[in-house]
Amino acid sequence: MARFSDDMLSRAKELVSLYPDPRSATIPLCHLAQEQDGYVSDEAMAHIAELVGSSAAEVQGTASFYDMLKLEPVGRYVIGVCTNIACMLRGAYEVLEDAEKVLGIPVGGTTEDGLFTLEEVECIAHCDHAPAAQVNYRYFGPLDDESFRSLIARLRDGELDDEVPPHGTLIRVRREAPPAIPMTEIDRERAGDQE
């Protein structure tokens, strides 16, 4: 969708400065781009390449390796229905089929209003609440026809806004890192320990 906004750019530069080699910031910056747009756009990848000093093809190569970095636009809520063994035995495929019907999209699709993307995922370690699903990596379960419908309805109405932020959001409360302790102080402390 777009390159980094001014605010995001300052955060990006901060991230780049954390590493001895700028290229190490590639994945953190992909997350940042996803936080901004909900997915990692081509423009963002080109911008990341500029910031870390590699080529856009290399950034794309890295980003395309990871499933949780989306290179195509996705909905505000990415719903992943688990169909692994525990969930499957408890009726995950019925939930998935129902989800397709409720949302009117096939697996992998995004609703026209841009709210929901439906995915089929492997075990998400929520087996105790099988059949389980995740919305933007927040767990919900056990699900059936009815509870799935109500989950969708509540997401649509904004009732779960506090619990489930839009796709790509990394953190909602930004914390400042404490000021770095100067090396001299660390050395002095260590010397003190030894005494």
Binding site: D42, M45, A46, S54, S55, A56, A57, E58, V59, Q60, G61, S64, F65
Partner: protein
């Protein structure tokens, strides 16, 4: 330390190998071929394909290990034929073939494919994979020259490694993961590299193919000969392949001395220009008033001889001028040099128009390419390897990665600037200071310094080039010099240019003393009666098309040309020249190495070799050069003394790369060629890379001609004559507030007849631009994409390009403006002067 040997056993036979070598190389040296796909001897090992697994005995017993990824060690026991190794090879191949389409009958690689060959040699012969294979859209054009067929790809990482490691342009990379791993460019950024053709050459399957060769021929129908690329004077060794009397493709041969198997696209795809019959000159032509008519050779030659004779009779021999700016074969250059000095007896001769430096400085203590790349310090003076000697750029990058210390002295940053140790700016106001900085950067490592001296910046004339080089050599008496000018090595070697007239001179001959710039300027004034242009375009030498019309009224222009150009369209007499690949012969490269030229197809129409035309003209002028065959020319050269004393074709039988000249002073161990069909697929047979490569089509090595000087005998002293190299060096007048020095630099794809005739490369020609750093742009009020007017000796309109890379490498107080790209228009800014002051004006949008 590097000579330390370790003892190990291969299949229970004892062997010794040098410490630090890779196991796979040691196995190759021992004559044991391990199958491989991803390993390439000129790139770092990655161990991607697992095809080279061998069993190695270690402290915990015998285990399978990739031989490309481990070094030899003392006491190592290696098994390459065991049942476990065979099983591993079957397994790896079965996996590689699981998704491979097996469309070999329609694949261009079929017949020369490492996957095909090794599946036959090492595969189990069966597949258990019955599922549907991967499908992708195909072919995907990843650039205008390269097409990608993802289904065939075996993910060996060769092309991506080449792009990243060798070319330094990682525009292709893997995308995805697991079974969906694929080669990808970034959304709309093509793999536009000067070196893109190499990825198709090293691809071990048919996944990457070049557009010009796609579906053109079957490998088993190709005939080939060893030859040398003539697009620049680096002398890249190539296998020139043809089918049914048409050049099909060129592949790089791994010559350790020169090109390490790489080629640039300009060289690799030059065959397409040769095949473009519409833009070739096929028959001699005479122009009568405005009409031009094809005539017979005898009529055309008679007309040419008549014009020369009339000019000599009426205005003296010096009124006949001969000029060239491209690389002609050594034999042609010598024949014309002899014709000029002994028959026509004119001094207005320059066969190295691009060379703007005193060439005797290049010859006094010459360095080879390998010596330059292993020097303690390498100084680049006014040379842009990437745009002038492209493969040298790759060699330099590799050498810098391996620790070569480079000092760059240039008016304008190059692509090497970010990775060299010191980049020092050349500016007219600080020449002395720049030389001081170079000396300071060299420090006390003065023992083994090599200078690469070029003539890159057209704004930097011969006098300035010579002065900088002379100053450097005075301060560094032991330094060797490598020629860095892309054209004119043959002319220098035989003394066919005023920049090096003393090299070969038969007694009583006339010495060239008028430079190409002076010839062009003089011709426009009507100083000459006849102007002979050898395979060059006058608009590349500083004439505009309007000038050409005026020229035609005053001077009889005789154009010998391979391709049609503005010059051939306006010339009075046009004589067709053989193209690359149509004539036998030899050439000399920048390190004065003698290299062979192969003939692979018949000359088009009535085209002839340049030396034949010179011999015919001589006899029409009532004299004889004595050249009936190529061997006659060679015999004459052999006896002529100077740089090329002792020259002969017999050396081609002794060493694959040919000897370095002068013979007596330069001996370099000739490294064996890497004869690896997996490294360079497409070179049909390993044997054919040897000396007798396609016997009968290249110049046959002959027995020594009896005239040969004893190679041990020192050649005739190379006299460095004091003579005008153009204008006088004087301190430049200071710049006014709004004035800048003009730096005019060439690009690889600057318009030229052979490029215009090439259907695959013509689209790469771009308009010249004013290149600025963002800071300069701010100071001048110019933005990216703006248009501006540059006022120098002429006024030219140019686009503006802001280059971020310049911010780091251009000094903030720089008073140099860079115009990127040579065209008749940008050359008119200079009008053959050096250090032109220019002013810029922004052109406001409509």
């Amino acid at each position: 330390m590097p000579d330390e040997l370790v003892s190990l056993t291969f299949d229970e036979h004892p062997f010794q190998a040098q410490k630090g070598t890779k196991l796979i190389d040691a196995l190759d040296a021992a004559g044991i071929h391990v199958p491989r796909f991803c390993y390439h001897p000129r790139m770092s090992a990655v161990g991607m394909c697992r095809m080279c697994l061998v069993e190695v005995k270690g402290p915990r017993g015998v285990s399978l290990q990739p031989s490309c990824y481990i070094d030899v060690a003392d006491g190592m026991e290696v098994f390459t034929e065991s049942a476990a190794v065979k099983k591993a090879q079957h397994g790896v191949l079965e996996f590689l073939l699981a998704n491979h389409p097996l469309d070999c009958p329609v694949c261009d690689k079929g017949g020369e494919c490492p996957l095909q060959d090794q599946a036959f040699a090492h595969g189990s012969g069966e597949t258990r994979f019955v599922e549907e294979k991967r499908h992708y859209a195909k072919p995907i054009p990843i650039s205008r020259l390269i097409k990608l067929d993802r289904e065939r790809c075996i993910q060996c990482d060769r092309c991506t490694r080449f792009a990243d490691e060798i070319a330094g342009e990682p525009l292709i990379d893997f995308a995805g993961r697991g079974g969906a791993l694929r080669i990808a460019t970034f959304s709309n950024v093509d793999f536009d590299s000067y070196f893109s053709g190499n990825v198709a050459q090293i691809c071990p399957v048919g996944a990457l193919t070049t557009t010009p060769y796609r579906f053109k021929a079957r490998p088993w129908d190709l005939v080939q000969s060893a030859s040398t690329c003539m697009e620049c004077d680096l002398g890249c060794q190539v296998s020139l392949q043809s089918s049914q009397n048409e050049l099909t493709r060129m592949l790089g041969i791994d010559s350790d001395a020169i090109n390490h198997s790489w080629l640039c696209d300009r060289g690799r795809f030059t065959t397409s220009a040769v095949n473009n019959l519409e833009l070739r000159v096929a028959r001699p032509r005479l122009r009568d008033q405005s009409r031009s008519a094809e005539v017979s050779w005898s009529k055309a030659l008679r007309a040419a001889a008549l014009s020369i004779k009339r000019t000599i009779d009426e205005r003296g021999a010096s009124a006949v001028a001969i000029v060239s700016g491209t690389s002609l074969s050594l034999e042609t250059t010598y024949a014309w040099a002899k014709l000029a000095s002994d028959v026509i007896r004119t001094n207005a001769v320059d066969g190295a128009a691009d060379l703007r430096t005193d060439a005797s400085l290049l010859l006094e203590n010459p360095a080879s390419i390998n010596q330059a790349l292993s020097a303690s310090k390498l100084v680049l003076v006014n040379v842009d390897p990437k745009n002038e000697l492209p493969v040298m750029h790759l060699r330099l990058r590799a050498a810098i990665r391996a620790g070569l210390s480079v000092i760059e002295l240039n008016t304008t940053p190059t692509e090497l600037t970010p990775i060299v140790d010191h980049a020092i700016a050349l500016e007219p106001s600080r020449l002395g200071q720049a030389v001081d900085e170079v000396i300071a950067a060299i420090g006390d490592q003065v023992d083994d310094v090599v200078i690469v001296a070029g003539s890159r910046d057209r704004g930097f004339g011969a006098a300035l080039n010579t002065r900088v080089l002379k100053d450097l050599l005075e301060r560094l008496p032991g330094a060797k010099v490598l020629n860095g000018t892309p054209h004119g090595a043959n002319a220098v070697a035989v003394g066919f240019t005023p920049n090096a007239p003393q090299v070969i001179r038969s007694s009583g001959g006339v010495t060239p003393s008028v430079s190409a710039d002076a010839i062009v300027a003089g011709a426009l004034r009507g100083d000459f009666g006849t102007l002979i242009v050898l395979d060059s375009e006058l608009t590349r030498l500083g004439m505009s098309e309007a000038d050409l019309e005026v020229l035609g009224e005053r001077v009889t222009v005789i154009a010998l040309s391979t391709f049609e150009s503005a010059t051939t369209h306006s010339a009075a007499i046009v004589l067709p020249l053989c193209a690359f690949g149509e004539e036998q012969g030899s050439t000399v490269n920048v390190e004065w190495r003698h290299l062979r030229l192969g003939r692979q197809v018949e000359p088009l129409g009535q085209a002839r070799s340049g030396w034949m035309i010179a011999a015919e003209l001589a006899s029409m002028l009532g004299d004889e050069l004595g050249f009936l065959t190529l061997a006659d020319v060679m015999r004459d050269l052999n006896q002529s003394g100077g740089l090329l004393a002792g020259l002969g074709y017999e050396y081609f039988a002794e060493s694959l790369d040919g000897p370095l000249f002068p013979l007596s002073r330069r001996e370099e161990p000739c490294a064996p060629r890497i004869l690896d069909p997996m490294a360079t697929p497409g070179i049909a047979s390993v044997d054919r890379q040897g000396a007798n490569f396609a016997a009968g089509r290249v110049v046959e090595p002959t027995v020594a001609t009896g005239f040969a000087l004893d190679p041990g005998k020192s050649p005739q002293a190379l006299v460095s004559a004091e003579r005008g190299t153009g204008d006088v060096v004087r301190d430049p007048d200071p710049l006014a507030e709004d004035e800048f020095w003009l730096s005019l630099v060439p690009r690889l794809y600057d318009v030229s007849p052979s490029l215009s005739a090439n259907p695959f490369l013509a689209a790469w020609v771009r308009d010249p631009v004013l290149k600025l750093s963002p800071l300069q742009g701010e100071q001048l009020g110019l933005m990216d994409g703006d248009r501006c007017r540059l006022i120098g000796a002429a006024t030219v309109e140019l686009g503006v390009e802001l280059t971020k890379a310049f911010d780091l490498s251009v000094r903030s107080d720089s008073r140099v403006l860079v115009v990127d790209g040579l065209t008749p228009a940008t050359l008119s800014l200079l009008e053959n002067q050096s250090w032109i002051k220019v002013r810029v004006e922004k052109i406001n949008g409509e």
